[in-house]
Symmetry: C2
Subunit: 220 residues, 2 copies
């Protein structure tokens, strides 16, 4: 598989929403910063390799073979992200670009040993699940705080709004990636939420609650 083919496969997987919808040529082109005509060419090629099911003017969907390729790339991407954050002390928001390169390294032994070295993580630093060798993964249990009922508990794994202002706010309130929070109370009136943190409990506004993701600690 060429680098370019792998990128198309990955994009098609993501746009198809777990391989349920067929994906439009234009959508792929937009996502990949290329032209629709280029997409048509590549999709034909992928179809000949039976990585996708494609009929003219009907969009594409990954074949089972293609889906497994996509999952193996995603597995690599997410394992590398864990490595970058856990071992090299990158912050969660810096790792994507580098992981996009690392995900194309071809070596099964490498990825097996990396997995072991990292302690077989189940989720990446953004809370997204890591497929196993066979492409099996627990579906994401990453939720915004505003979507959770009282009593929910989870590890903070990401933000929606990555503006400097928001990150500064988090810092001031001692909220950091990797912290465990519990939803204590939801105020009906304004949607603000009281959560427990290591340093006590704080109340956060609805706006904040809709910008913080928790990875729910829920057994598979």
């Amino acid at each position: 598989m060429t680098l370019s083919e792998e990128d198309y496969i990955k994009t098609i997987y993501h746009l198809s929403d777990f391989n349920s919808k067929s994906v439009a040529t234009n959508a792929i082109a937009e996502q990949m910063n290329t032209k629709p005509s280029s997409v048509t060419d590549m999709v034909k090629k992928l179809s000949e390799k039976s990585l996708v099911n494609y009929k003219k003017y009907q969009g594409v969907l990954l074949s089972e073979k293609g889906r497994l390729v996509a999952l193996s790339i995603i597995r690599k991407h997410r394992l590398w992200e864990v490595f970058l954050v856990d071992k090299l002390n990158f912050s969660w928001d810096e790792v994507h670009v580098v992981a996009e390169q690392l995900e194309h390294i071809k070596s099964d032994a490498l990825i097996d040993k990396l997995d072991a070295h990292l302690g077989y993580p189940k989720v990446d630093p953004h809370g997204d699940p890591i497929p196993n060798k066979d492409g099996v993964f627990t579906k994401s249990v990453k939720k915004l705080i505003s979507e959770l009922p009282v009593g929910s508990q989870g590890v903070c794994v990401g933000v929606n709004d990555s503006s400097a202002a928001f990150l500064k706010f988090l810092d001031k309130n001692k909220i950091a990636l990797g912290d465990t929070f519990k939803v204590l109370e939801i105020e009906e009136f304004d949607g603000s939420v009281t959560i427990s943190t290591r340093s006590g409990s704080i109340r956060i506004s609805k706006q904040i609650a809709t910008n913080l993701f928790l990875e729910i600690v829920d057994e598979e």
Copy 2:
């Protein structure tokens, strides 16, 4: 820089023997499994980017700019090799192919953090020196046991002969990569050498002595 350009730069550096000899078109072609005509094309391109000095029919030599590019690739290659061996438990002889891919990952931050994570190693698992960010490196002090005078001491970092038979012999005699040896005595008659190991001293034949590399523990 494209992947292909980087491979050419690296090959030219290695063939030029620390950038001292000018390198023949045919030599590059042979080393890279391509045709001389392809090399001519690429060399022209590199020359236009002033990465090499090239005159028709005269061979190529890296420019200072090109030399620094080569050293940065070699730095990445060797740091990744250390990572693969020290952190992922690859054996020294499995790492080259994977490192050839990893060396092309583009991220200064990545390589800085990797360097720190590994404890700023000075040599790779084969005993070859790792250039620093500015392309400065201590010259190799990797020698065959047969080349050393009595009293020399060093860490075993590689073999010349990587046949299964030889590796089995090493295993049987409890000689492993990373072990420290000292040359105790050299037998004039047959060139055999007595060396001290962790488990006492053993005598090795000249043939063996010409196949084991020590990284001499010699301050820079």
